[in-house]
Amino acid sequence: MHRRGVGAGAIAKKKLAEAKYKERGNVLAEDQIVQMSKQLETFKSNLEEFASKHKQEIRKNPQFRVQFQEMCATIGVDPLASGKGFWSEMLGVGDFYYELGVQIVEVCLALKHRNGGLITLDELHQRVLKGRGKYAQDVSQDDLMRAIKKLKVMGNGFGMIPVGGSYLVQSVPAELNMDHTVVLQLAEKKGYVTVSEIKESLKWEKERACHVLDHLLKEGLAWLDSQASGEAQYWLPALFSEIISRDVTPEEANQMTP
């Protein structure tokens, strides 16, 4: 980008260019930036007014949060992009989601040794709620998903895998391709899967099934039960709490994990 020319000749030349430009009906970028600055001020005060009337709606009503986010997305605005954004400052949406992000990271870190970095959205939701305590505001699963989407930019492998009508949340940069995902989905009903089941349901050859299962074992996402009657079963700790309606206390959980 060239510097502004200095000297009388350059100034005159510039003025000429500006005049020609304006004559053609185009507005210069500098003028537009000034215009934007003015519009921004107006918008800011409109937003302040909106906030004073409706801030509570956003705080209390999760459907409103969803709608709000979707409207922003439609026009090309990300209200959660920066803590310094107007939306965040005035409507307080930022702190809500960023704090949720911290809580999600902490829960995932605490359980990683057990489930390898894979957890159901339901379990994540329960544990986050528990961590937030009774005096905090309730959060919906949609809120969690939006917070997780934001966490992705920090490159630590956060992602969501659709299984059985809900999602598995991944929090480690393990390589999970379509084959792995489809096996996870197959295991969702019972919490485990066998080579035969994979061969039958997915029509794969044994090698392909074993390759995928080995990878899941290596990444710590699956545990091998070689003593199961019949053939070996590959269990996914991430799916455990889905099928057991009996709640397990932390003490019991510690006894169960190897």
Partner: protein, 385 residues
């Protein structure tokens, strides 16, 4: 509460668990039930409740018993609740904790929250009525349509009206909020379009934009949450805000980084910084953009992205060669190491110790033994042979 029956809490063949929530206390009408706080479980067929301490104490009620339900917002010192109005008891109901009750409604008090999702799922199940399609072996579905001319409990009509009024009032508020929001969005959209026009002109060099103006423009984009469409970053990636942040981070992270062997995963930094702030938190993007400026601001920190995609902040003083050499030393010393073992040795996180081992492998100092027992690294004897 006399609609509940004792249960073993196990799901039937065609019954699926929909959602469960801890920290729920039951109320018999307006009175606290003679039960402790427990877990409420919603299945496709029943509402189940189990005592947390005494798992034997478990009760259930068919969903068909539910007439209607409403949310009660939390108040001062009071948890949020869902009030469930019930149909008359069926004749063949199994015994439960209450023989009879003067109330025709119960309340679920959510002491640990979760009422939003529970209410949503309950609404779904009561709309879909999946229990009608997949009957289960135990006689848990109570009589329903046979009681078409059932005697409604006194006051139900009044309750329904109250709920309807409350819903209308809430709807009105929401409608107003949405109207105001729509107007706001129209204005926001105008600015998005304006910013695109400006960005195009900057790209095509139409007009003479100074560095200051570019930075100002970027800060406008930041305020509005508009992605920066000008990819050519002659004046650095961020705004003044990010520069400030970068300097703050430079000060704040020195000590923690040194404690952790010179490197921290970005998510760790995010948690650390935001926990310290308490409010006016940083967004993940704020953090990434600030870290990208370390180099141009000549701060002693660097943002680094590994092949795996993991992003870390590391001390500039932390040289690559040192890290690789130390990895090689440690592995040679112990014969072989996994990421977990290495992490324990150095007091690092498993994630980062794995990255160091991978780094050393990349330059050829280590080689791997990849099996289902784990990933183990050995000194690369092939290269020295």
């Amino acid at each position: 509460m006399d609609r509940f029956s004792w249960s073993n809490g196990l799901l039937e063949i065609n019954e699926t668990l929909v959602i469960q929530q801890r920290g729920v206390r039951l109320y018999d009408g307006d009175d606290k039930a003679k039960l402790d706080v427990g877990v409420a479980l919603l299945s496709t067929h029943r509402l189940i409740w189990r005592d947390v301490k005494n798992h034997e104490c478990c009760i259930a009620m068919p969903l068909s018993q539910i007439l209607l339900f409403e949310e009660l917002a939390a108040g001062l010192g009071k948890s949020a609740k869902i009030v469930i109005h019930l149909q008359e008891t069926t004749v063949n109901k199994e015994p439960g904790p209450y023989q009879n009750s003067k109330y025709s409604f119960i309340k679920l008090s959510f002491k640990e929250h979760g009422q939003i999702e529970f209410h949503r799922r309950l609404t779904e199940e009561m709309t879909q009525k999946r229990w009608e399609n997949t009957p289960v072996s135990q006689p848990i579905s109570a009589g329903t349509s046979s009681q078409a001319g059932r005697t409604r409990a006194v006051g139900i009509v009044g309750i329904e009206r109250k709920i309807e009024e409350k819903r209308k009032e809430t709807d009105k508020n929401i409608c107003e909020a949405f109207e105001d929001l729509s107007k706001l969005m129209v204005k926001a959209k105008e600015m998005v379009e304006l910013s695109r026009s400006i960005a195009n002109k900057i790209k095509d060099k139409q007009g003479d934009i100074s560095e200051d103006e570019t930075i100002r423009f970027k800060s406008y984009l930041l305020s509005m949450g508009i992605a920066n469409p000008v990819t050519r970053d002659t004046y650095g990636t961020g705004t003044h805000y990010h520069m400030q942040l970068a300097k703050q981070l430079g000060d704040m992270l020195q000590a923690p980084l040194e404690e952790r062997g010179g490197m921290m995963a970005l998510t760790e930094v995010y948690c650390l910084v935001n926990r310290a702030r308490g409010m006016e938190l940083l967004s993940p993007e704020d953090l990434v953009n600030a870290c990208k400026m370390f180099e141009s601001l000549k701060l002693p920190l660097r943002l680094r992205v590994f092949d795996s995609g993991v992003m870390v902040v590391q001390l500039q003083s932390h040289s690559e060669e040192e890290m690789i050499a130390s990895a090689l030393d440690n592995v040679t010393d112990k014969g072989s190491l996994t990421a977990e073992e290495f992490a324990k040795l150095l007091g690092l996180s498993v994630l980062l110790s794995k990255e160091r081992l991978l780094l050393a492998e990349k330059v050829g100092h280590l080689c791997r033994d990849d099996s289902v027992e784990g990933l183990r690294f050995y000194p690369n004897l092939f290269s020295t042979a």
